[in-house]
Structures are given as structure tokens and as C-alpha cells.
């Protein structure tokens, strides 16, 4: 066991740990069951010194709870689980990622000495390549297949530009906070999320990584899937077909007509119908008609053009994604 290999350091009890004496609180506020629970919980907080291997304790000696560079949250993350030998933490502690850094241990930079050999932030941060190599030495599994040469790799992004290793909860892995990280660079998509018709990203019901793999994806725009349409079908499988009467652009690429991040027009369409339809359908009579305000309601009922009001073209051609009805070649069935 690790504890057997390294003599635990002895840390005296902290005389003033700043915590409330919960037993007194119990006597005073017995009226509330919830507070009682909290009291009992608080009373369990121990002020005992933490026993840890020397090579880790030596770092924590300075990087303690009051450190300007807090690291203790790391102990709540998978990286610090010493029973998982893959982490390197058991054997090497902080040096597993930051390098041996002996000079830093003797005299840290703040005291006029040296910084750690591999710093992940600050003015003395190592190069992106160096930092990413540390991460990739463990995280080079199949999910990172596309990382080398991916768009983010080419943009010289470091893993820690998005991920927080010394955090109980990495915001990049938390659906509630992930989007903030993405849109800090992808400003256009951030604006599109606020358009009147958008996928529920702003509401937190859909996340960037539901479709995209920021570590490099198999499909265009780093999609998880090999093609755009496969990605769309994962939620909209009813539009997959194949149908008897296909609509060619639909079969080709959903984004020919739809803007997935948000649109000014209903159904996330790239442009307003019926004019969008008329960019591909220009045959005799109604498809080629010049549609304008002349088709809006007049003073009398009924009035107006069925190519303009309601769902315009879709007042009749309802199956724009394809029809499987034998009498539906015009996408009306």
C-alpha cells in the first residue's frame, strides 16, 4: 500500500479551523429539522491532519487551502485517485503532470526561485505542445483518435484552455457550463443561439458536445457522426427514410435549408418560405408566381394567397422531407 511505502507526514491539529461549533447550534435551533441535519453534518467535519505520501505532501505544504494557486480540489477528481494506477498520481504525485520540478520544490518562483517544469498557466506556461503531451500521455484513447491534426489542435489550443484539472467539477464536462466555454471563442454561434428559432441550447437542453466532438470528429465540423444527416437523424429519425418520393436536397444535406444553430426564420430555415422554395422550384403557374404583399389578406373574407399565408407552400406540399405515399410524388401525401 502507498501508506506503507511512504511515511505519512504528521500535521498537527488546526486550532482555529474557522468552523462553527455545531453542537452549540443544535441546542439553540432544535426547531428546525433541516438545521438539525446540518448541525450533525457540521459536527462531523474533522480537523485531523491529512496523512498523505511525502512527495504529495511536500507540494501541498505550500499549495494548501490558502494558496493563491489552489490545488486541493484535485483530490476530489479522478486524477488523484491513487488506487487507479493509471493516473500516475500514486507513483509520482503532482510530478506526474508538472514534471519533477526539484528546483521549484527547493525554492518556488514566488520566493525568487524556479517555477514548476511544466506549468499549465501563467506567464511561465509551457508550450501548448508540451502541455498537451502531458495530457495525451494518458488521454490518447480511442475517443481522442482525431485530436492530432484536428481543427482545435491546428488552432494551437491546449487541453487546459477548456478543461480545469484542479477543479472538483470540470466546467467543460459539465453540461450546465460547457456552452460558456465554447462560445467564448465561437461568437457567431453564440449569437445564433439567441435568434428567434433555435435548438434549445440557450435553455440547456442541448449541448455543443451532443453534436460536436471538440477533440476532433469523424464528420464535417467535427461532428461525432460521419455525415451531417446522420447527426440530425440521431434525434429526428423519422426524417431518415429512405422514402418513396425523395426531396433531393433533403437527402443530400439538411443544412442546405436549415441553420442548426439558429435562424431568423421558422423551422430554422435559412431563408423565408415560399421564396426559399422558389430558389429551386420555378415551373409554370404557381411555383413561378411573383409573390408579394399582393397576396396578403384584403378587407374581405376570404382573401389572400395560399402561397403566402399560413404555411405557404406547405399548405399543400406537406411532406417536404419525403413521402412514402404511392400518390405523393408532389410531396402532398
Amino acid at each position: 500500500m502507498i501508506e506503507d511505502q511512504h511515511e505519512p507526514i504528521t500535521i498537527p491539529k488546526d486550532e482555529d479551523n474557522g468552523h462553527v461549533d455545531r453542537s452549540k447550534l443544535l441546542n439553540r435551533r432544535v426547531w428546525a429539522l433541516v438545521l438539525l441535519c446540518s448541525t450533525l453534518h457540521g459536527g462531523m467535519v474533522a480537523a485531523e491532519p491529512v496523512k498523505m505520501p511525502d512527495h504529495i505532501a511536500n507540494c501541498v505544504r505550500c499549495h494548501d487551502a490558502d494558496s493563491a494557486e489552489p490545488v486541493l480540489a484535485l483530490f476530489a477528481t479522478p486524477h488523484a485517485v491513487m488506487a487507479d494506477q493509471r493516473t500516475g498520481f500514486a507513483e509520482q504525485g503532482c510530478a506526474a503532470c508538472h514534471g519533477p520540478s526539484l528546483d521549484h520544490a527547493r525554492l518556488p518562483a514566488r520566493a525568487g526561485g524556479s517555477a514548476v517544469e511544466i506549468a499549465f498557466g501563467g506567464p511561465g506556461a509551457a508550450s501548448t505542445e508540451q502541455r498537451n503531451q502531458v495530457c495525451m500521455s494518458c488521454h490518447s484513447g480511442a475517443t481522442m483518435l482525431h485530436w492530432p491534426g484536428s481543427s482545435h489542435d491546428f488552432e494551437d489550443l491546449a487541453c487546459v484552455d477548456c478543461h480545469r484539472v484542479h477543479a472538483v467539477k470540470d466546467p467543460a464536462l459539465d453540461p450546465a457550463t460547457q456552452a460558456a466555454s465554447c462560445v467564448s471563442c465561437h461568437r457567431a454561434q453564440h449569437a445564433q443561439m439567441h435568434r428567434p428559432f433555435a435548438h434549445p441550447m440557450r435553455e440547456g437542453q442541448l449541448h455543443c458536445t451532443d453534436c460536436h466532438n471538440p477533440h476532433g470528429g469523424s464528420g464535417p465540423a467535427d461532428l461525432h457522426t460521419m455525415t451531417v444527416n446522420e447527426n440530425c437523424y440521431s434525434c429526428h429519425a423519422e426524417k431518415r427514410g429512405p422514402f418513396l418520393w425523395e426531396h433531393q436536397p433533403v437527402r443530400e444535406d439538411c443544412t442546405l435549408c436549415h441553420q442548426p444553430h439558429g435562424s431568423v426564420h421558422r423551422d430554422l430555415l435559412t431563408q423565408r418560405t415560399p421564396f426559399l422554395c422558389q430558389q429551386c422550384h420555378m415551373s409554370q403557374f404557381h411555383p413561378s408566381t411573383a409573390l408579394s404583399g399582393a397576396g396578403l389578406p384584403g378587407d374581405d373574407l376570404p382573401s389572400g394567397s395560399s402561397s403566402m399565408l399560413g404555411r405557404d407552400c406547405m399548405n399543400c406540399h406537406v411532406q417536404v422531407h419525403g413521402s412514402n405515399h404511392p400518390s405523393g410524388p408532389g410531396q402532398t401525401r
Binding site: 488506487a83 480511442a142 455525415t227 429512405p242 425523395e246 395560399s306
Partner: protein, 742 residues
């Protein structure tokens, strides 16, 4: 070497250790313990609004419960067992409730299970003459008074029922991963999603030539999608392999929708098509499946070169039984040529391939060479169908009938070859360049082949400590094989019919469909990040993309050009742990010009297309402004936190229509929407485990749309509309919740 140095360091670090305090159990527990909590509270929504609640499940007014739980049991860093368990429950009191459960032994295996509901509202207060609860067989009221147009439907307004557009998704999933033999792992995931609800589509009678009649229907949603993913992965220092299977099975419990015809028989319809015998039928999404197997691998050939290959082979199938040519038994008697098959036997074989070589020629130069193939071989049989138009025609199986149609199984092949290079230049400057060649082959379309060449250049530089700037440009040119707009039309009709048609085309020959047309694209972008002070960061970004479809002189009809211009700025201020603020503003202008020509059929057909006075133009001018402001302030050693977020988004879609002298037109009003959202959040930590959360949220949305507003169900003569209005709301939400940490 690294390991050796580390071990030496570890020994030395041990010798450096001194014996006085560093961290107590209490501190470690406080800082390194997941914030497990239970949240209980109550909220109130001031008014019901489908749009406000379309994705957050707050569509009804009144009170709602706030229930949540987050519990993560991680092993202590020095625990003997790396077992972990994680459960989270969120929005349990709403229609968006979700629960996720994970557990396992770190480095060995994990499992997960999840359940979530997503209740979506697209609209409320829609109207229909059919009973919305009737399911897939919609009948008219007993006292229905039919007519040839809505003007004479005296029972229309008294017969209206209200219905809502909604979809409730219930999604359950289980899965896990197991590591074995040190470098291998196997994973499996199964997901099932049930969807039910109601949408609306028009049920139409008639065919062409001015005789269609339609009524909007409540359409049931009753879908189930099952997805399974199984993977086997291998990874070592230099190689990664993965093999996978993906299956997706979609089923629809309501494969069709039958509806009665509310219109009387009109000229051009066969006897018995109209009320009371008239019956129509829509095909709803058919059951379908997709199966895909994949294999991929990455290999570091050397420290400076890596290869990647990934292949996925799949098959989409669909073989739902065909509905009859008509649901009307009277019209069915006219059928001479029945269906050529009982079902489609639809099948598309997909092949996707990614190949990539990545190298570092030096410390300052990295390159990529990649090839991508996306091939969809549509093996669906093409057969001739003699269709019956809109459940209102007798079958016309004549030799020259336009109703003899062939289904077109579209093939598609997209190949892309791309070279990327990035150079680290002196003075913290970075140059990235790319060239790309893309070829797309299609069948039965106006252009069998399109080719696009693309070049990109990006330059970024860290000018000094407070300024980082970048410049980017893109140029692309798309051309292709000869454009023949009649190909699909000719392939889809019987030659005996097309021989009778002047010119043998349907779409105007001068039309260039925008995804097939020649196109030149230019894009320019600039960006900068200014950090005038360590507490301040200001981002600036502007981009201009222009698409020009007029590269071919014959391209007179269709999309002529389009552009997207944006500029945005964002600013953040983080002076210390207690204060933070941010703001952003984005201006977007999307434009597009399209040209058309109005022409009639019969003897007017050819003269009309030669008449420039029948030409028309539409200019699309969309503008979007989005702005936001937020701040957060902490007091009392983080016990009290106040935060606010303000978002303002305004969108305007403007259409300018101009027509030649032979046509008439009138201006169209703008379509506008405006969103104002204010969120105030406060939290006060009563004591260590208890925190009170208060929230006030006001969202105001106003919009107008000339296609919906003041357009009642009987506005159009030939379509019974759903009477849907564009949304407008002003909703206040207040909530209070107690969060108990444990």
C-alpha cells in the same frame, strides 16, 4: 528517462518534507469534496406561454416544484478501492426532469443509466374542425356544412376545437465500459426514446390546375427510436484502434392519417371526392432502420508523423407497407394499374471514409493531408406508379398520362481532398493555410457533378502583452458538369408524356438551383483580443462572406447572391474573486437576392419565358442584433452572491419584391421579433450545508408575422388554416429553493 527523473524527484521531495501543518481533514473535506446537495423549492410562472416554455417546460402558469439531487461518491484520494457512484436528478418537478446514474471502479469499469423527459411546446391555441383527440382517423362534426370554399362553410367557426402543438420525449438509456487486458476496452450503450404529442399538417385534396383544397389537421406523434452502440477500443502509446456498431431503429405507431373532406366536390374533382364520401390519407413517417459498422485507427508512425484511417459502412432501410393509391373507395374503383409492389424495399448503402496524415516537419511547421469520402448508394428500386392526385382524381393510366411517375433513388458521393499547414513564425506569429478540392456526384439531378476549389489563409499574431490580432480569408470557386435542369423531370416521368410537353422541361431552363449552381465565395475576417489590464478582456470580431452565383451568364434565375456580415464585441471584467462582469454585442446582416420569372402553361409557356416583363426579383434583408450584460458579486466571504443577466435580441426579416411591368406586386411588411430577458439570481448560505436560492426571471417576447397574424382559419378560400398567431408574451418567474449540502 522521464520516469527515472520522476522517481528520483519523488525520493528527493520526500526528503524535503517537513512535519508541520499543511492541510487538515476539514480543509480537505471542504475543498475537495463534491458539492452533493438536495434542492427543494417552489416557483411560480405568471402566465402561460407555449413559446416561453417550449424548451424549459414552464409553459403553464401557476406554481411548479423545484426538486433536484446531486450526489457523487468518489473514492478518497488514498482509498484502497477506486469505486465511485454518482446520481443526479434535476428539474424533477417539471416536464424536463432528468436523472443520471453512474458508477463503477475507476480504471476498470463504469456503468451509467439515465432517464430524461423533454417536453416541447411549439404552439398553443391552434384551431381545427376535426376532433384533436380522434387520433389517426379524423372525422367531421355531424352537422358539418360543406362548401367549395371556406366562405360558404357556415359550420366552420362553430365547429372549431383548440389544440396545442407539443411533443413529449421520454428518453431512457443504459450503458457502460469495461477495460480489459490493460489496453483494451469494450463499451455498450442502449437508448430508447418515445415521443408522443401532436403537430399539424395540411390535409389536401385536389391536384394541380387550381383545384386544391386543404384543411389543417391535428397529427398524432407516436414514435419510438431505439439506438444501440457497441464498441471495442484499443489504445497504447502509439496506436489507437476502435471497432464499432451503431444501430438505430425507428418505429411509428401511426403510419397514416385518414381525414374526411370538408369541401364539396369542385370542378376538376371526380364524383365522390368531396363531402360526404371524400376521404384523404397522409403517409406518416415510415418505420426505418440504420445499421452501421465502423473501424478506425490512428498510428504514430514516428514522433513527427501520424496516420488516421476510419471507415464506416452502413445501410438505411425502409420497407413499410404502402398505403393504397387512394383512401377513397369510389376512386379506388377506377384503378387500372395497381401498385407495382407492396412496399418500397428502400435501401441506401452508405460508405464513409476518413484518411489523414499529420506531420510536424519541424518545431515550427505542422501539416495535414486528408481525404474524406461520403458515399450513399441508393439501392431502392425505381418503379412506375400511376398516382391518384390528392384523393380527388380517377386514375389516369393513359399512355401519355403525366401521372405515370418513377420514384428516383438519388445517389450521392462527396469526396474531399484537403491540405493544411500551420507555421509558427517569429514574433509570436502564426500562419495557417489550407487548400481543398471537393467533388460531389449526384444522380437524377440537374448537375451530375460539382467541383469546388477552396483556399484559406489565417494569420494571427500576439502583438504585445495586451493585443492579440488575427486576419483570415477564404476563397472558393464551385463549377461542375453541364447544368441540365430537366434531368430529374425526365427521369421521373414517362417519356410518352414528356414528349408531349413543349421544351420537355418543368423547371425553367435558366434556373440554377443554389446547391448546384456555379458559385464564388469570398470571406474575410478580422479579430482581436485586447487586454488593457489584467482584469479586462475585450474581444472584437468582424467577418464578411459573399456568395456570388452569377458566375455563369446563363444564371439568371434562382439565387443570385447572398452575404453574411457580422461584427461582434465582448468584454469581460474580473477584478477579483468577488466581482465579475461581462457584456457582448453582435450585429448580423444576412442578405440574399433571387431572381424569378413568372410563366404560365399551355400556349403561353414559351412566349412567357421569353418575356422579360414577367421577371421578378426578391431581396432578402435580415438583420439580427444580440446584446447581453451580466455581473456577479460575492459578499461575506462568499455567503451572499448576487448575479444578473440581461439579454436583448432583435431580429428583422425584410423582403423587397420588384416585378416587371407585366406583373403586379405590393410591398411586404417586415417580420420582427424582439426578446428581452432579465434574470436576477441571489443565493445566501445560511450555514455550511444550507443555502437559499432566489431567482427572478422576466422574459418579454414580441413578434409579428404577416403569414400568421390576423389570419383566421377562414382567411383563405381554399385552405382551412390553423389560426396560429405569432407569439407574444411577458412572463415573470419567481422561485425560491433551499439547497442542502451533504
Amino acid at each position: 528517462m522521464w520516469v527515472f527523473r520522476s522517481m528520483v524527484a519523488i525520493a528527493l521531495l520526500g526528503s524535503l518534507t517537513i512535519s508541520h501543518a499543511a492541510v487538515t481533514e476539514g480543509q480537505l473535506q471542504k475543498l475537495a469534496t463534491p458539492k452533493n446537495h438536495v434542492e427543494i423549492g417552489l416557483g411560480h410562472v405568471s402566465e402561460a406561454s407555449a413559446r416561453f416554455g417550449r424548451y424549459n417546460a414552464l409553459y403553464d402558469d401557476g406554481f411548479f416544484a423545484i426538486l433536484g439531487l446531486s450526489y457523487l461518491q468518489r473514492p478518497r484520494f488514498d482509498a484502497d478501492s477506486p469505486a465511485f457512484f454518482d446520481i443526479s436528478i434535476a428539474d424533477a418537478g417539471l416536464g424536463n426532469r432528468r436523472m443520471d446514474l453512474r458508477g463503477g471502479r475507476q480504471g476498470d469499469y463504469f456503468f451509467r443509466a439515465g432517464y430524461r423527459e423533454r417536453s416541447v411546446r411549439w404552439g398553443d391555441g391552434l384551431q381545427t374542425i376535426f376532433n384533436p383527440q380522434a387520433g389517426a382517423n379524423l372525422q367531421l362534426p355531424g352537422d358539418w356544412v360543406p362548401a367549395q370554399t371556406t366562405a360558404d362553410m357556415t359550420a366552420l367557426l362553430p365547429s372549431l376545437h383548440e389544440f396545442n402543438l407539443r411533443q413529449d420525449r421520454r428518453h431512457a438509456s443504459v450503458g457502460g465500459r469495461k477495460h480489459f487486458a490493460e489496453r483494451w476496452s469494450v463499451s455498450a450503450d442502449f437508448r430508447q426514446e418515445d415521443r408522443d404529442g401532436q403537430r399539424t399538417m395540411a390535409g389536401m385534396f385536389g391536384n394541380t390546375g387550381g383545384n386544391p383544397r386543404a384543411a389543417f389537421l391535428p397529427v398524432p406523434i407516436d414514435y419510438r427510436t431505439r439506438q444501440i452502440d457497441v464498441g471495442v477500443n484499443y489504445a497504447d502509446r502509439d496506436r489507437q484502434l476502435r471497432f464499432g456498431y451503431h444501430g438505430s431503429l425507428f418505429s411509428n405507431n401511426e403510419p397514416s392519417l385518414t381525414f374526411a373532406n370538408p369541401y364539396s366536390t369542385i370542378t376538376g374533382w371526380a364524383a365522390g371526392s368531396g363531402f360526404p364520401q371524400g376521404t384523404g390519407q397522409l403517409a406518416l413517417p415510415p418505420d426505418n432502420q440504420f445499421h452501421q459498422i465502423s473501424a478506425g485507427g490512428g498510428w504514430n508512425f514516428s514522433p513527427s508523423m501520424r496516420g488516421l484511417a476510419e471507415l464506416a459502412v452502413g445501410r438505411m432501410t425502409q420497407n413499410e407497407d404502402f398505403l393504397p393509391l387512394t383512401a377513397n373507395p369510389i376512386l379506388a374503383e377506377s384503378i387500372i394499374q395497381g401498385l407495382p409492389a407492396n412496399s418500397l424495399n428502400g435501401r441506401i448503402d452508405t460508405t464513409a471514409l476518413n484518411l489523414r496524415l499529420t506531420g510536424r516537419a519541424s518545431r515550427t511547421f505542422q501539416w495535414n493531408a486528408s481525404y474524406r469520402l461520403d458515399d450513399r448508394d441508393n439501392r431502392t428500386p425505381s418503379r412506375q406508379f400511376v398516382y391518384i392526385g390528392g384523393d380527388s382524381q380517377l386514375q389516369d393510366a393513359g399512355e401519355t398520362s403525366s401521372r405515370r411517375r418513377y420514384n428516383l433513388p438519388y445517389d450521392y458521393r462527396n469526396q474531399r481532398l484537403r491540405l493544411d499547414g500551420t507555421w509558427r513564425l517569429p514574433d509570436r506569429t502564426r500562419l495557417t493555410a489550407a487548400i481543398q478540392r471537393q467533388r460531389v456526384n449526384r444522380s437524377f439531378t440537374a448537375r451530375a457533378r460539382t467541383d469546388e476549389n477552396l483556399a484559406e489563409l489565417r494569420l494571427s499574431r500576439v502583438v504585445n502583452e495586451w493585443l492579440q490580432a488575427g486576419l483570415s480569408g477564404q476563397w472558393a470557386d464551385r463549377t461542375g458538369s453541364t447544368y441540365d435542369g430537366a434531368i430529374g423531370f425526365l427521369a421521373g416521368h414517362d417519356p410518352a408524356f414528356t414528349d408531349t410537353l413543349a421544351g420537355q422541361w418543368a423547371n425553367l431552363p435558366a434556373l440554377r438551383q443554389f446547391h448546384l449552381a456555379d458559385r464564388r465565395r469570398h470571406r474575410l475576417g478580422v479579430n482581436a483580443v485586447v487586454t488593457p489590464h489584467e482584469h479586462w478582456s475585450i474581444g472584437l470580431e468582424a467577418a464578411d462572406m459573399q456568395d456570388d452565383y452569377r458566375t455563369d451568364l446563363d444564371t439568371l434565375i434562382g439565387r443570385a447572391e447572398s452575404s453574411i456580415r457580422t461584427w461582434s464585441t465582448n468584454i469581460s471584467w474580473n477584478p477579483n474573486h468577488n466581482w465579475s462582469a461581462h457584456g457582448f454585442y453582435t450585429w448580423e446582416r444576412l442578405t440574399g437576392d433571387q431572381a424569378g420569372l413568372s410563366f404560365r402553361g399551355g400556349p403561353n409557356r414559351l412566349p412567357d419565358i421569353a418575356n422579360p416583363e414577367r421577371a421578378w426579383m426578391v431581396d432578402h434583408r435580415d438583420r439580427v442584433d444580440t446584446a447581453g450584460l451580466g455581473f456577479q458579486r460575492r459578499w461575506l466571504d462568499d455567503r451572499l452572491t448576487l448575479a444578473t443577466d440581461l439579454v436583448y435580441a432583435r431580429a428583422r426579416a425584410r423582403l423587397n419584391v420588384a416585378t416587371g411591368p407585366a406583373l403586379t406586386s405590393a410591398p411586404l411588411p417586415d417580420v420582427n421579433s424582439r426578446l428581452r430577458s432579465l434574470m436576477l439570481r441571489g443565493s445566501y448560505r445560511i450555514n455550511e450545508p444550507l443555502t437559499l436560492h432566489l431567482r427572478y426571471w422576466n422574459e418579454r417576447f414580441s413578434s409579428n408575422d404577416w403569414a400568421l397574424d390576423d389570419v383566421p382559419v377562414d382567411q383563405l378560400a381554399n385552405v382551412i388554416l390553423p389560426g396560429q398567431a405569432s407569439p407574444d408574451y411577458n412572463v415573470h418567474v419567481i422561485s425560491a429553493a433551499i439547497n442542502y449540502r451533504f
